[in-house]
Each structure stands twice: as structure tokens, then as C-alpha cells.
Symmetry: C2
Subunit: 348 residues, 2 copies
């Protein structure tokens, strides 16, 4: 049966263009029905540029407002009750859609998703999970990368459970480690005693879980493929993500500059440019289709504001896989078992 | 007058080779006297490979023990009372040397430096300051990158003061912003209200200081040159540093792999290889000579374990400049003024 995914058509920097393109690609390739949520005239005008869309399972759902990239999340969510995000997430809540994708304001999307969908029983805080490519040609999931800036040890324990289940699900059959993902706790040294107050306590809680726990890992393990899932609080994870984005930008800029400084080098660049394209692609997170907010009663994915049609398509595809896989039920069961085992009460 | 710097000759991964090379380079080029601290027979044997060293102001100071890279810092410092680190730092404490450089176990170096030298009056915690190259061809100092994993808001305020003074000093005449360095607080969003409990409180304390405060900056600002000094706790800073190192390694590996996959690309690589060398150099932190531990009664620099002779030489040069500049006196004065102004008592 085909799955329905609601897409915030007003989110991306160049909205609604990438959203419409992504919807068309997904409807064609991924056996999904797409609901494009946004100002009807704007979205329909963009759809009109693609006459082939008429025969695809794509529908526009009107939402009179949208939240801009620079708006403050809490305030915007409160004031704009008919935003494309809220309308889209309500479609998930009422069962019309099985998942939601937005390339808009990440903070607003997280607040709205938590408010509209609620969290799974036993989950204290949802976590934003991001996929990083590694030098070993694998991928590492880091969570939380920004949903919770102040975490308690049991939050990190729950992130470990949710991240492990997510890695199993999306990389099953692709990476051998997906049958028993290696989970690391991000710290500043490998020994059990290294870290801050939060990680030292979280270490013991994660150690008590029935999963493949590596113990502490360090920042450099994000890109060497030594761990499949890396757990941290949302402040640290957000810094790790944004430092990486900044460094990749800097590397591109410096390489471009140095490779254009002489004719010989320019010739070298021309000969090697396919290698550069491949290199950029390997580092292009959009291949993996955005970041899920794990722990919600429902499926919600957040993409980069700079997402193109292909990135949106991938996010729609992955959101549909998430919905099909019954992942949330597994998360609920495992969290419940962990609470029982480690003696953490249902609500803390 | 020439300055004396004590160098831990037993620290680097390939010790004492890079230390001896660095000492020779520094003694030749930088108007310094170098005391190589370590097991006398080992260091002298390495010096014997460089007959020209005999005429240079280099001396060996014996220390019977040394602390390995994989030893636990606290324990090793306690047990090895005649380690090259402790003997070297005692030379600073008793005035024989004006600064200390080690490429050994960072944790052990920090613990030993704090124990032997003590902190400046008014400083609660010393901070490890690392210099990052930017795409704008400038440099950004981040502190703390690992000395303190759990910080209080006033620690971050003091880091801001110390980082600003250090940036002024080492980049004076090189970058125009060194006359009034732009200081940012690392957070997860630009607005004053964004961040965790620690950064929100630290924001107000730093705002009260007489310095060029940008407010919150994000992880990506580490490499774009928007800030000169970025302040954070040592856990977050260590993650930022190690994520960067890991990503640079991954980029190198991926580029190498993609550039060797066909003959055309290999030709391209040969033509462009000088560009790559330059690129690697721009990202090579060793150019800046290691990381100082700011806030100590004395001068102590920590270098990478993988440092080569050039990196050690640069660290010796920068340590000598630090000692000459009277930086610690300035730090003491500014910290005192800040405590007075923001009402933080002398010891908290």
C-alpha cells in the first residue's frame, strides 16, 4: 500500500521550488502519495511549471501562514496557528499522512512536532538524529544534534536506544554492523572515568542496556567509522554538526582558491574535477534525506534550508520507510524495557 | 636578552627526535636558550646525530621518568615525581626557564602545570587555547579546548578575558582585528536567549566586560573568520577540536581515494599537487606552535603528540614571545578589574 507523506512546501530557502521538485521525484520513484502543505496559490503556481505532476499522486493542502528561517521558534509557533508546519503535522496526528518533512526553521519544526504529535510513552525527550558520512565509506548517526540543549543522564540513555534502532532499520542490508550497531558515548577521552558529570552518569546507564556499547568515543570518531551511533546532548551535538559544516565550507573555499592560483593548477583541477564532484557528494549529507526527530508519536523529518529537490525526495523516501517499518513501536518497547531494568520511573 | 625555554624531550610520539630538531631550529632562529628535559642518555644520543648542536645554546636536564601517551593523567602525575614534565615545569617555577613546552600526554601536562605553577591570582581555572585557521586567511582562538570539562559561568567570563588578551598579543600587526578582537560565546543560535543554562548565564557576565563582544556564535563560525576568540567549556571545545581533526583526516582520505581512481585524475592530481600541499599547510595547526594553558603563574604550551621538529620550534618561539610580552600580568589585572566590576568575589 502506498504511504502518504505531508511536506512543508514553504520551508526551504528557495521554497516552494525544491519541495515541489522533491514531491514529483518521490511520487514517481518511491511509491508514495505527497501532500504539499502551504499557501495554495504559491504552491499551485510552482506545480504549474511541471505539467507532468498532474498525473502523479500529489495534492496541495492549504495553510495560510508559514514560519520564516529567522523567526524565533517559540514565538512563531505560538502566533502562527495556521503555519504550513502545524497544518502538515496535524495531517500526521489525524492519520491522513504517515509522516512529515520540512526544510524550514529547525527550531520551529521541533517545537511544533513535539506539541502536535506528542512523545512516545516512556520517552522523556525526542532527539534529532543526523547521519554523517565516514572515511570508511560507512555512516555514523549522531544524536541529539539540537533538540535538547540541557540533558539528564536518562535522556542520553534513551537516545542510545533510539539511535541504535534507527541505525538497524535504515542501514539493514547495507552495512554489516547494522545487525548489531556499535554505540558510543561522546566524551573527551576513552576511559570510563573521562568526561563531564553528565556523561559519567550516562555511561553507567547505557552500559546497563542490552546493546553493543563501545564506551566513550571522541570527536574524531565521528568520521572514522569506528562507531555506528554516537550519543551526546543537543548542545554538543549541534556544535559538532555546525563545526563540521563550517570546516567543509572552509576546505572547499581554500581548495578552490589554491587550485585557481596558476594555469598548471587549473589544468590539474580540470582533470581532477570529477574526483572533486565525487568528494563533494560523499560529504553531501542530503543523500541521507534529512534528520528524523526520534521519540515522537509519529514521523517527522527536518532537512537543511538549502535542500534541493533531490534532498527533499530522499527525505520523503526515508520518512516513508520509517513509517512502514514500525520503528516507533520498537522504540516504545525498548524504552519501556530499559526503564524497567534500570529502575528509572516512567516519568521523571 | 635571550629567553630560556624548557622542553619536555620525552613527550612526542617519536620523542626525542622532534624535540631535539625543534630545539636546534629554535636555538638557531629565535634567540632562545633551550633546556631539553628527559633521560640524559636518550636525549644526548639523539643530540649526537646533530653535531652542529654543540655550538648552540642547548642543554640537557636529566629527568629519570616520563609519562606515556596512554597513561591515566592523574595517576601518572602522582606516581612519577621525577617525570620530564614535572622537572621541566619546576625549572619554570624556580625561574631557571621562562616557559615550558610539551608534546606529551595533554591531560598530564595540564594537571602537572596547574600543580607546579599554580594559577594567577583571581583566575579560577586555567584554559587550553587552540588556534584554528579560517577560510578568510585569518585565525580564530577557541578556549577552553579541554582543561575543564565542567565549567561555571564565571569560568567562561575569565576565558573571554584571557583569550582576548592572547589574541591581541600574538596577532598584533598581523591581523587588523588584533587591536580590538571580536569575542563570541559558542552556542546553538545567535539570539541572546539561545543556548544552555551555562551559556545563558555566561552571556550576561561576558556582556558586562569592556571588550568587543559579538554575543553568541555558532559552530560554523569557527572557520569563517567572523570571530577572533570563541569561548566555550572544555568539553564542548574538545569535541569541536577533535571533530575537526577527524573531519580533516576523512577529507584527506576521501580526496586521495577519489583522485587515484583513474589515470586522468592521477594526472590532474600531479598537476594540482602543490595546491594540495598549500591546502594541507593552511590546515596544519602546527604552524601556530601549540596551545597555551592560559591563567597559570608561568608559561606552558601543549603540542600535538604527532608534532614534528618545525611544530616544536614554533611552540618554543611562541612560548618565548608569551614570556617576553608580560601577558600574564595583563591577564591578572584584567581579571581583577572584571571581578571588581561584576561583583564576583575573589574566590568562588
Amino acid at each position: 500500500m502506498s504511504i502518504t507523506i505531508a511536506v512543508d512546501a514553504m520551508g526551504a530557502d528557495r521554497a516552494p521550488q525544491p519541495e515541489v521538485e522533491g514531491a514529483i521525484l518521490a511520487a514517481r520513484q518511491c511509491d508514495v502519495r505527497v501532500l504539499l502543505v502551504g499557501q495554495e496559490d504559491v504552491v499551485s503556481a510552482e506545480l504549474a511549471h511541471h505539467p507532468e505532476a498532474g498525473s502523479l499522486p500529489i495534492q496541495v493542502v492549504h495553510a495560510s501562514e508559514f514560519i520564516g528561517m529567522d523567526e524565533k521558534a517559540a514565538q512563531a509557533v505560538k502566533q502562527k496557528r495556521d503555519s504550513s508546519m502545524r497544518v502538515g503535522l496535524r495531517l500526521v496526528k489525524d492519520g491522513t499522512a504517515s509522516g512529515f518533512v520540512s526544510a524550514g526553521n529547525t527550531g520551529a519544526a521541533m517545537v511544533t512536532a513535539k506539541m502536535v504529535l506528542g512523545v512516545l510513552p516512556g520517552v522523556d525527550r525526542p532527539a534529532l538524529a543526523n547521519i554523517f558520512p565516514t572515511a570508511a565509506n560507512t555512516a555514523t548517526i549522531m544524536l541529539d544534534v539540537g533538540a535538547n540543549v540541557d540533558c539528564k543522564p536518562q535522556n542520553l540513555q534513551q537516545f542510545a536506544i533510539m539511535g541504535e534502532i534507527y541505525f538497524r532499520s535504515i542501514f539493514s542490508g547495507r552495512f554489516p554492523t547494522a545487525s548489531n550497531p556499535r554505540v558510543g558515548l561522546l566524551s573527551v577521552g576513552e576511559e570510563e572515568t573521562k568526561g563531564n558529570d553528565l556523561t559519567r552518569d550516562a555511561f553507567q546507564l547505557i552500559k546497563a542496556l542490552p546493546l553493543n556499547f563501545l564506551g566513550n568515543v571522541e570527536g574524531r570518531d565521528l568520521y572514522n567509522g569506528h562507531a555506528d551511533v554516537i550519543v551526546c546532548d543537543g548542545f554538543v551535538g549541534n556544535v559538532a554538526l555546525k563545526v563540521s559544516e563550517g570546516l567543509v565550507e572552509a576546505v572547499r573555499a581554500i581548495l578552490k582558491e589554491t587550485l585557481q592560483s596558476s594555469v598548471t593548477r587549473q589544468m590539474g583541477y580540470l582533470l581532477a574535477r570529477n574526483a572533486f564532484k565525487e568528494f563533494k557528494k560523499r560529504l553531501d549529507y542530503s543523500e541521507y534525506g534529512g534528520a528524523p526527530l526520534l521519540g515522537l508519536k509519529g514521523v517527522a523529518f527536518v532537512c537543511h534550508g538549502s535542500s534541493n529537490g533531490n534532498a527533499i525526495k530522499n527525505a520523503i523516501r526515508v520518512a516513508a520507510e520509517f513509517a512502514r517499518s514500525g520503528l516507533n513501536q520498537k522504540i516504545e518497547e525498548r524504552i519501556k524495557a530499559a526503564r524497567h531494568k534500570t529502575g528509572v520511573p516512567e516519568r521523571v
